[in-house]
């Protein structure tokens, strides 16, 4: 079954590669003129065109692009001259740590909140839940982030300045997983753990607030549907206590749609990540892409879009597999 699901990823990946290729090549504007800069002579443009392989046919260019990708070559950044692939892989852990902490935080808050709202339907908590859910998706992430910075950095002074993963005085832990929190714990460096945690909290909360809404909504809706079903009535009639009915019987069945929603939440999160990284000067791949975008440096942007898409496809694959773990019926059907 896993193999079968893996095969369905292939056409998606092909589509992703084609789109990222098309983004530069087919659209209006001559990349060679673009790469040569404003002070280019026709001669230098022709030279760049040749060195970029733009004088060849489109299918030929595409083959070269795919070949480069297969060798892990994402091209070089125009402004720094460094290869995009190394830059992205060195910055990826920062983004991953931020996104995953945000998601984890959101799940920890949203799932109990959704369950509570469903169990006490129509109550004050339920209405509060609806307001939070709608307000959460309405808040622009960059705005939430700035508000949090104002309150917790400027007003209360509880959190450090939003200047990246560590403040100027702390040293980075040795690079094992690339996740500062984990690395500092492994090496027993609690000073650095505290420093990186205090930098991480605000951006992670910002992302969590954003992804809270869809998870709460879906948990509530699917808990409501499950609680109305017959096996719950039977369980209740058999005299099981409310806790067992809700957590063991209802929740496990209600989890499936919630896990499906996580796919959509990830799409939002990976996008919101870019904005949050800009607000908190987080040295992840999002801020790398934004910097490149503003300098019209296309190779990093292309590499970034491709990386994000591949990550997202992989995450969706993971979610599908999780589905089979939660619900054995899915395995049987396949």
């Amino acid at each position: 079954m896993i193999l079968k699901r893996l095969l369905t990823v292939i056409p998606t990946l092909i589509g992703v590669v084609i789109v990222t290729f098309l983004l530069t090549r087919v659209l209006p504007g001559d990349p060679a003129v673009y790469f040569a800069g404003p002070a280019a002579t026709p001669q230098s443009i022709a030279e760049i065109r040749k060195s970029l392989g733009l004088d060849r046919s489109l299918p030929d260019q595409f083959a070269r692009y795919v070949n480069d990708l297969a060798h892990g070559n994402f091209g070089n950044s125009l402004s720094t001259g460094r290869p995009v692939a190394t830059e992205i892989s060195s910055r990826l852990p920062a983004s991953a740590e931020l996104t995953l902490s945000g998601l984890l935080l959101a799940i920890v808050i949203a799932v109990p909140l959704g369950i509570f709202a469903a169990v006490k339907q129509g109550s004050f908590i339920d209405h509060l839940c609806r307001i939070i859910a709608t307000a959460g998706v309405s808040l622009p992430v960059f705005f939430t982030g700035l508000l949090l910075v104002y309150i917790f950095y400027f007003k209360l002074g509880w959190s450090p300045a939003p200047i990246g993963r560590l403040d100027a005085f702390a040293t980075a832990p040795p690079d094992i997983t690339g996740f500062y929190l984990i690395d500092s714990l492994i090496t027993g460096n609690f000073e650095s753990f505290r420093a990186s945690l205090s930098q991480l909290i605000l951006p992670a909360v910002t992302l969590a607030v954003f992804s809270l809404a869809p998870i709460t909504r879906m948990t509530r809706a699917s808990m409501l549907a499950v609680l109305a079903s017959e096996f719950i009535r039977t369980a209740r009639a058999s005299g099981l206590n409310g806790r067992t009915v809700i957590l063991t019987y209802a929740f496990r069945n209600a989890m499936l749609p919630v896990v499906t929603t996580l796919g959509m939440v990830f799409s939002f999160l990976l996008g919101a990540n870019v904005l949050v990284e800009k607000v908190f000067a987080w040295p992840g791949i999002g801020s790398y892409a934004v910097e490149a975008l503003l300098q019209s440096d296309f190779a990093p942007v292309q590499g970034f879009v491709l990386t994000m898409a591949v990550l997202y496809v992989a995450l969706n694959l993971l979610i599908d597999m999780l589905y089979g773990v939660i619900d054995p019926r899915v395995r049987l059907e396949a």
């Binding site: 056409p11 998606t12 589509g15 992703v16 084609i18 789109v19 990222t20 983004l23 530069t24 659209l27 209006p28 504007g29 709608t134 307000a135 998706v137 309405s138 808040l139 622009p140 992430v141 960059f142 705005f143 700035l146 508000l147 910075v149 104002y150 950095y153 400027f154 300045a161 939003p162 909504r217 879906m218 509530r220 809706a221 990830f266 799409s267 939002f268 999160l269 990976l270 996008g271 919101a272 870019v274 904005l275 800009k278 607000v279 892409a289 934004v290 975008l293 503003l294 296309f298 942007v301 292309q302 970034f304 879009v305 994000m308 898409a309 997202y312 496809v313």
Partner: protein
């Protein structure tokens, strides 16, 4: 023909009244049950009025800088304070409504035409049309949507028009899905078969008979995605894409105020961000309310 024209007038006379009345009554019922929807509708009217008349009623020129009054906190003269160049933030927020609103409406209208037509064609014809449209929207969905929008704007060029196009493209799969499902259900419906029997071609059936029938559901989809469209456009301009600096626009104004937040001048970013938040909040609530009205079963 004569029979039809004989029976038709009483029908058209009798019919409009009960439905409008019952829809109206249903609307009143829904609003009474959920006053938030009523409030959001009021807000929507207010935002639309700001978009229409905002630039004419601003107390100051949104572009005029005043070096003698930079970074002033909110006061009676400057309700929302002034920014780094001494521009009145209240005027800028008000004037920006039109641009943000226009971007959202233009992108939603564009995707309604693209996604709606592609979707009903896919649902109606099935086969290859369905497969191609499905493949295209699957490929779009394979990207994190905001990231794809960034890529599109970067490739097409850094203009407001391209923000509209990018926002439309990332919403494309949502519209296709709804339109496809609705068209598919109606493909073999009685009125479609009747239309086919009377000699209508496929395209004509699609546009004249099916399209009007799925419009209510598409309207709900519009109001549900409108908030996301505004949020997306503001996000793109926050990272420096699309709108160029002196132009008042909520996203770029928050970006301009971001540096002032750390030194305590909260109002520069707060008011445009707040306006953006209220607008998105209003569209989302309105979308939910409209969906409850048209399609009560999908309520969550």
């Amino acid at each position: 023909m004569t029979e039809a024209s004989l029976t038709a007038p009483p029908m058209t006379e009798a019919q409009p009244k009960p439905p409008t009345n019952s829809i109206f009554r249903h609307a009143v019922y829904v609003v009474a049950d959920n006053p938030v929807t009523g409030l959001s509708f009021g807000l929507f009217v207010l935002i639309a009025l700001c978009a229409l008349f905002g630039p004419y009623i601003v107390p100051y020129d949104p572009l005029a800088s005043d070096t003698s009054a930079t970074l002033q906190s909110p006061s009676l003269h400057h309700w929302f304070g002034t920014d780094l160049l001494g521009r009145d933030i209240f005027s800028r927020v008000l004037a920006a409504t039109r641009l943000d609103f226009t971007i959202a409406i233009a992108s939603v209208a564009l995707v309604l035409v693209m996604g709606g037509l592609a979707g009903i064609a896919a649902g109606f014809f099935g086969g290859w049309t369905d497969r191609i449209v499905g493949r295209v929207s699957d490929t779009i969905m394979a990207f994190p949507l905001f990231v794809l929008a960034m890529g599109i704007v970067a490739a097409l060029g850094n203009t407001v028009t391209n923000i509209v196009i990018a926002t439309a493209i990332i919403n494309f799969p949502l519209y296709v899905r709804v339109a496809r499902a609705e068209a598919n259900v109606r493909r073999e419906a009685g009125f479609v078969q009747a239309a086919r029997l009377s000699g209508n071609g496929d395209i004509r059936i699609l546009l004249v008979h099916i399209l009007p029938n799925i419009m209510p559901i598409m309207m709900v989809q519009i109001s549900l995605t409108m908030g996301y469209a505004i949020l997306n456009a503001a996000g793109l301009s926050f990272i420096g894409l699309g709108v160029k600096p002196p132009t008042p626009e909520w996203g770029i104004m928050v970006a301009e105020g971001a540096t002032n937040i750390i030194s305590g001048e909260w109002w520069v970013a707060f008011f445009p961000g707040g306006a953006l938040m209220i607008a998105v909040f209003c569209f989302n609530l309105l979308g939910d309310g409209l969906r409850d009205l048209v399609d009560p079963q999908r309520r969550t």
